[in-house]
């Protein structure tokens, strides 16, 4: 049995990272030139890592699925990025950011990783400002902050409602600088098909060229996966259409353990589903909860009338409204963490108080804020979000409250990595949302951007050297090796199989069905019976997929249907692992809510005695059951207690 | 010409706009002299001014600078246009309709017609004045070539007047876009002043056009 080793450095919490850096192995400049690194993905983590490796002098090959690195889905993050700068003088510190993150994650994250994240958060802001990221500023010319859920301080830096875009463009510009100077070679419109492992180490990848269909081999001394999350397993999510779990799923099948696959974040403020042709869900930034108040009608009767269109929300008097978050959580109010806010919305809608034609929506009301601050202030803060909302729903949120409902947004789970962000396969690293590391069972708002950039700019450039230090004698790899041959053959076989089925159902129809199963049974609330049922249903669907899917065209062309089919085939396996992971975790924590385990008030009830561990799953073969390994979580520096936002 | 091709797009635009702005000064002087013909039936003022223009050594030297301005403006205009056509080898099925400055679409066309007009105009007046024979006329102030008579004679031909008016209208459109466009190319765009620059450009183009057009119309109809 493999023993999981998180390789957490010794010493007091605040000195671990400093100690690590002081004692790690380095690679001298002459040797860096001889070492090759492959980076898959050009989001915040991938672009920043590739740029930083290039600056250090390594030979870097970076791959992206899009026509340009700038399109990675990090670009869609709206609200902001956290850092412990304490510029507003409201009592923030590295420790407090660390503590809020651990608590927000419901005590299911590694202390050392989270502390490091909080520690480098300040460097990230410095770095981005130096790159020309136009963060919001105050009239005095200094940086502005706003508040996000799960924190009592204002520590979120932002660039209007487009923070992710600006940070990604910063990382993209750094990457472009390296591409221009030749230290990084950029490959666009490539999909990762497999990881190649030679003598137990990751030594290359198999890519599919999305224009020509060519199956290409690339070798390197180390491989970094920065391919984002797998929220699209739910079909409808806030993820982009191309966001997928295939790269990490291939890594899992090649021996990298999968950490906490069931930990999914359901974001509370999304535009509700409105039709079955719908292809994705649109997020409304959490920052809206700074000024918007969430409510549903107090009486079932009013809710019914609103659903039927007989009553308008603006007609309902103040005393007939239930501001349920403010009622239940007076201390944090509308700014409770995402899992809490999402569950509370579901609870009200399930109880029959939901609004909108489907009854699956709650109000996010800005009337008070507009009265207090004036329309122009609200417009300056959220103008682009309001405009986006109006374009989609054809309703003016300045006049009538927004309707929102929770939607799948982020996956805290991912490839298991140690403190160095290395997976259980030596030489294979995972960064950003693709790994499981820092957010425990629930991620706080504005922390994903922080983690992506932390991994890419400030962690991997160090830990990668520590790994490569003993690889300097290893010559460049040739892609003729038998392992490459074998991986390419497996890829080609899989593609041929998909193209030859020629069944009666489109790829999307399977994806939609899988999404519904996942949402109903592995979504916001889970129970044993449902999860067992889901596992059976997913298996059946998978069998049906391989018999009846229709993928038109050939491999040797631009073939979006084939691309989707390859991804959905992986989702059909990943979905099952998620359900399995949710099934064994017989407790509720963060975004993982098992109906059997809740407090009398309906809050998540953890079982720290039995489940204070990271679930790391090992692939053992297509037909055999995966094996669960447990990495126990030790809390040396914080006291583990019931989360309280009241 | 060869060198012009190697200037960067922005350099070409900057030279283009400077040449264009420079050429407007010629239009102003030319118009002022032309207008003299309307205020003096004896054509003495006009002929006197014309005489000054063709005999003053400073003006005669400056004339070559003016020609150079024209040539630069025209050559660069043609080069830019050819490059612009080459930048979209496959055209759209459905024509775009999103231009904000409408006349900008037709700069090459209005420019080309104005250029043809210029050649004819040149043959009619400049060549005749320089190389042909023009009857002199004697006033109290002296004897001058009666260029004014040439003008009056030409403008009594309806066809010529129509051509003149059309060409000048097109010049007006050319100027309307060109004036504000020159400021933009030179980097002079400021939220506070650009609306005024645009208005000034339109007013200037209208004044120049109406001023020039008024002369043949008045002469023809009187």
């Amino acid at each position: 049995m493999v023993k999981l080793n998180a390789k957490i450095p010794a010493g007091p919490l605040a000195e671990k990272w400093t100690n690590y850096k002081a004692h790690q192995n380095l690679v001298n400049p002459a040797n860096k030139r001889k070492l090759d690194i492959i980076v898959i993905g050009t989001g915040l983590a991938g672009a920043s890592a590739a740029a930083s490796f290039g600056e250090l002098g390594f030979n870097v090959k970076v791959f992206c699925i899009h026509d340009s690195p700038r399109r990675a889905h990090s670009i869609a993050a709206q609200g902001g990025i956290n850092a412990a700068k304490n510029y507003p003088n409201d009592g923030d510190s590295i420790y407090r950011l660390f503590y809020d993150t651990i608590k927000g994650g419901d005590y299911r994250a590694r202390e050392a990783n989270v502390y490091r994240l909080a520690e480098v958060s300040n460097n990230i802001i410095d770095q981005c400002v130096a790159q020309g990221v136009p963060f919001a500023r105050e009239y005095g010319g200094l940086l502005d902050n706003r508040s996000f859920g799960g924190a009592q301080v204002s520590r979120t830096f932002y660039a209007r409602g487009q923070t992710g875009q600006q940070l990604l463009l910063g990382a993209y510009s750094a990457l472009s600088k390296e591409v221009g100077s030749g230290s990084v070679k950029l490959y666009t419109r490539r999909d990762m098909m497999d990881v190649v492992i030679i003598d137990g180490r990751a030594r290359g990848v198999i890519m599919r060229n999305l224009i020509t269909g060519a199956i290409e081999r690339y070798a390197a001394h180390a491989v970094v996966l920065a391919t984002g999350g797998y929220g699209n397993v739910f079909f409808l999510s806030t993820n982009a259409m191309a966001s997928n779990g295939s790269a990490i799923w291939k890594a899992y099948r090649k021996g990298a353990f999968f950490g906490n696959p069931s930990f999914t974040q359901i974001h509370p403020t999304c535009i509700p589903v409105h039709g079955d042709y719908q292809s994705k869900l649109t997020l409304m930034s959490e920052s809206l909860r700074n000024d918007g108040r969430i409510w549903v009608p107090k009486s079932l009767d009013d809710a019914e009338k609103i659903r039927k269109g007989q009553l308008k929300p603006t007609q309902l008097p103040e005393e007939a409204r239930d501001y349920y978050l403010e009622r239940r959580y007076p201390a944090f109010g509308n700014l409770v963490p995402r899992d809490v806010a999402s569950r509370a919305a579901k609870e009200r809608c399930d109880a029959g108080y939901g609004v909108g034609s489907t009854g699956l929506a709650v109000y996010l009301d800005f009337a008070d804020a507009i009265k207090r601050l004036g329309k122009h202030v609200i417009e300056a803060r959220y103008g682009n979000l309001f405009q986006m909302y109006e374009k989609i729903t054809d309703e003016n949120p300045y006049e009538t409250p927004m309707m929102i409902y929770p939607a799948v947004h982020y996956t805290m789970g991912g490839i298991w990595v140690d403190y160095e962000l290395q997976t259980t396969v030596p030489g294979l690293f995972a960064a950003g949302e693709a790994n499981f590391s820092d957010h425990g069972a629930n991620r706080l708002g504005a922390s994903a951007l922080m983690q992506g950039l932390s991994d890419g700019y400030f962690v991997l450039p160090y830990t990668m050297q520590n790994y490569l230090a003993d690889q300097i004698g290893v010559p460049r790899f040739k892609t003729e090796a038998a392992e490459f041959e074998q991986a390419e053959k497996e890829t080609r076989d899989r593609i041929s199989k998909l193209l030859s089925i020629n069944g009666n159902n489109t790829v999307d129809s399977y994806h939609r069905k899988l999404g519904l199963i996942m949402w109903d049974y592995v979504g916001m609330a889970r129970n044993k019976e449902g999860l067992e049922k889901a596992i059976g249903m997913i298996r059946e669907l998978r069998v049906d997929f391989w018999k009846n899917v229709k993928v038109p065209g050939t491999n040797e062309q631009v073939n979006p249907e084939l691309e989707k089919a390859l991804r959905v085939a992986d989702f059909l396996e990943l979905g099952e692992l998620m359900a399995r992971d949710a099934l064994i975790r017989e407790e509720s924590c963060g975004g993982h809510f098992r109906e059997e385990y809740q407090t009398p008030e309906g809050e998540a009830l953890r079982d720290d005695k039995s489940f204070n561990f990271v679930a790391a799953w090992e692939f053992t073969g297509q037909e055999s059951e995966p094996v669960l390994h447990k990495e126990p979580l030790q809390y040396e520096f914080v006291e583990v207690k019931q989360r309280n936002y009241k | 010409m060869g060198k012009a091709l190697h200037y960067s797009s922005i350099t070409k635009k900057i030279i283009m706009s400077l040449a264009g702005l420079f050429l407007t000064s010629f239009l102003v002087v030319h118009l002022l002299i032309n207008l003299l013909i309307l205020f003096d039936d004896s054509r003495e003022l006009f002929n006197q001014a014309a005489h000054f223009m063709v005999t003053n050594p400073l003006i005669q030297t400056f004339q070559w600078v003016l020609f150079a301005g024209f040539i630069v403006h025209i050559i660069l205009g043609v080069v830019l246009q050819i490059q612009n056509w080459m930048a979209r080898p496959v055209k759209y099925e459905k024509k775009g309709a999103s231009e904000q400055s409408y006349f900008s679409k037709f700069m090459i066309h209005t420019g080309a017609i104005v250029f043809i007009f210029l050649i004819i105009h040149f043959a009619n007046f400049f060549v005749k004045a320089k190389f042909g024979h023009i009857e002199p006329i004697t006033y109290a102030s002296g004897t001058y070539e009666d260029l004014g008579l040439l003008v009056v004679e030409l403008f009594s031909d309806g066809g010529y007047v129509a051509f003149y008016v059309i060409a000048l209208l097109l010049l007006g459109f050319h100027l309307d876009h060109g004036f504000q466009s020159a400021f933009q190319s030179l980097g002079l765009n400021h939220s506070r002043y650009i609306p005024w620059i645009k208005r000034a450009g339109t007013a200037f183009s209208a004044l120049i056009t109406l001023g020039f057009i008024a002369i043949p119309l008045v002469i023809y109809f009187s």
């Binding site: 700038r70 790159q131 020309g132 500023r137 992710g164 039709g275 042709y277 400030f458 | 930048a87 999103s98």
Partner: protein, 250 residues
């Protein structure tokens, strides 16, 4: 809604393309334009025909992938949005909608409605960055920046690199795209240090790639989904002029 779609079909980069008409019916007014195309594609797949290829990803107007020239306008008839944000309520029942790819020499068609926009990446690689390395930078608040400049820089930085400016321009000029980046950095103290090299390198690359020249037509501004102002082009012209005039002799 029932509609006729007149779509450019082209099998690959080298192939000759043509327009093909596709009727679609029962489209909801609340569907987005791309969801309407999804419906068409699903039916094409079931009929055994090739689905229409088009670039798209985030479907919330920020990634810049979608790039359809609809009825003579990049991103269609609505203002200030991308194709994915346009909803079918902007069209009339029974309408014929002409859908074309971006047309420009530096944006060759890859397939159907997909074009290759790597020319934009090349321009950024030529100088669209501030040359700082990871780490070793001053504190974020060390250099105050006037709010007005930061806001203006953000206006320019909002560019999503979709190429609508090039598609809309009668000259297929990339001036608004390049100017947005040049202007963003020129407005910030961090970007001023290499402003001269940046503007010269980026403009040289832009010209080299075969984009047309700016004739100040301002179609780019009218069609930009992020409504980036042409005043940034003026700022670039200014930057360029100063850079050229003050650059040392080579």
């Amino acid at each position: 809604m029932d509609l006729t779609l007149k779509i450019w079909r082209q099998a690959s980069a080298g192939a000759t393309g043509k327009f093909v008409n596709y009727p679609v019916s029962g489209i909801s007014e609340d569907a987005s334009f791309l969801e309407m195309l999804d419906v068409l594609n699903e039916s094409l797949v079931m009929k055994g025909e090739e689905p229409v290829a088009f670039d798209h990803d985030c479907r919330e107007g920020i990634c810049g992938a979608c790039s359809l020239y609809i009825n003579g306008r990049p991103h269609g008839p609505d203002k200030g949005i991308t194709t994915c944000q346009m909803h079918m309520r902007n069209f009339k029942d029974g309408e014929t909608i002409v859908i074309e790819p971006w047309r420009a020499k530096p944006f060759p068609v890859i397939k159907d409605l997909m074009v290759d926009r790597s020319a934009f990446d090349e321009i950024i690689q030529a100088g669209g960055f501030i040359s700082v390395r990871t780490g070793g930078v001053p504190d974020a608040n060390a250099i105050p920046i006037p709010k007005r400049h930061a806001d203006l820089a953000m206006d320019a930085a909002a560019c999503i690199g979709c190429g609508a400016c090039v598609a809309a321009c009668k000259n297929a000029s990339a001036m608004l795209f390049v100017a947005a980046k040049v202007s963003q950095f020129a407005l910030l103290p961090q970007g001023k240090l290499e402003a001269s090299e940046r503007v010269r390198n980026m403009v040289t690359k832009m010209d080299e790639l075969g984009f047309g020249n700016c004739t100040n037509t301002y179609a780019c501004e009218a069609e930009c989904p992020k409504e980036i102002s042409v005043s940034h082009i003026a700022r670039m012209n200014r930057e360029y002029l100063v850079a050229k005039v003050t650059a040392p002799k080579e």
